[in-house]
Subunit: 137 residues, 2 copies
């Protein structure tokens, strides 16, 4: 029995490979309420559907950009509220958007600094090499 329904199911391994989460982490996230309970096959194994997968991809993006678990839990809770949670969900995403803009600026400034230093090291290396060359003949 390789397929359970319309053949759209993914095993936990497959989801792990596709999202970058470990299987441990996927189970952990389900445990702490970041996902609704994933449907199980008769043998107890999870099978993930398309909409589960898309939710996990969203979680991955949020997590990879530094959203704390507790905030993702709040977001998941708002999802369960349906209409009643829309404004809160928007507010939470707008908060994260602001965070990312700040993060992006810090990265830009640090990239500028790094490039200055790298250039400086490069010229220093050239100089040292030049001296060695002179010394060496």
């Amino acid at each position: 029995m390789k397929e359970q329904g319309q053949g759209q199911e993914l095993t936990i391994q497959q989801v792990a490979e596709m999202t970058g989460f470990s299987v441990h982490t996927l189970r952990y996230y389900e445990r702490i309420g970041l996902m609704d309970p994933i449907p199980r096959a008769k043998n107890g194994h999870r099978f993930y559907q398309k909409n589960d997968f898309e939710w996990i991809v969203l979680l991955a993006r949020l997590r990879n950009t530094g959203m704390p678990i507790v905030q993702m839990q709040r977001f998941a809770a708002m999802m369960r509220l349906g209409d009643a949670g829309i404004s809160q969900r928007r507010a939470l995403l707008e908060d994260h958007e602001r965070m990312l803009l700040e993060q992006a600026q810090e990265i830009r400034q640090t990239l500028d600094l790094l490039r200055d230093k790298i250039d400086y090291y490069r010229s220093w290396e050239a100089e040292v090499k030049g001296e060695i060359h002179e010394k060496g003949g």
Copy 2:
């Protein structure tokens, strides 16, 4: 005795305020070798000089952009090598540069996604509001 030398010294408090690190963290960083030992006044209090301060600002940028402590320790060790450490230092900074470029891309993609969702929520909110308005008269 408010000033110790040319009046360029900073207390640990001042450095903390200026860099965003806590005084605890500044002492911790010194302990674990991220900074050379900071000179002390007769009473044992640290006084930070301009070059100490600049090094700490660099540490702050690296840390704020996600460089792990152990990598900063390697970088600090390379500083102590002088000329011999230049190429390694450049390589380490180039590694971090690459990391930041990836991070920046992840942020851009996530910002796109967030904006889509925020727009979607906004239109959803307008719709729900509209229905309430109709119902309410």
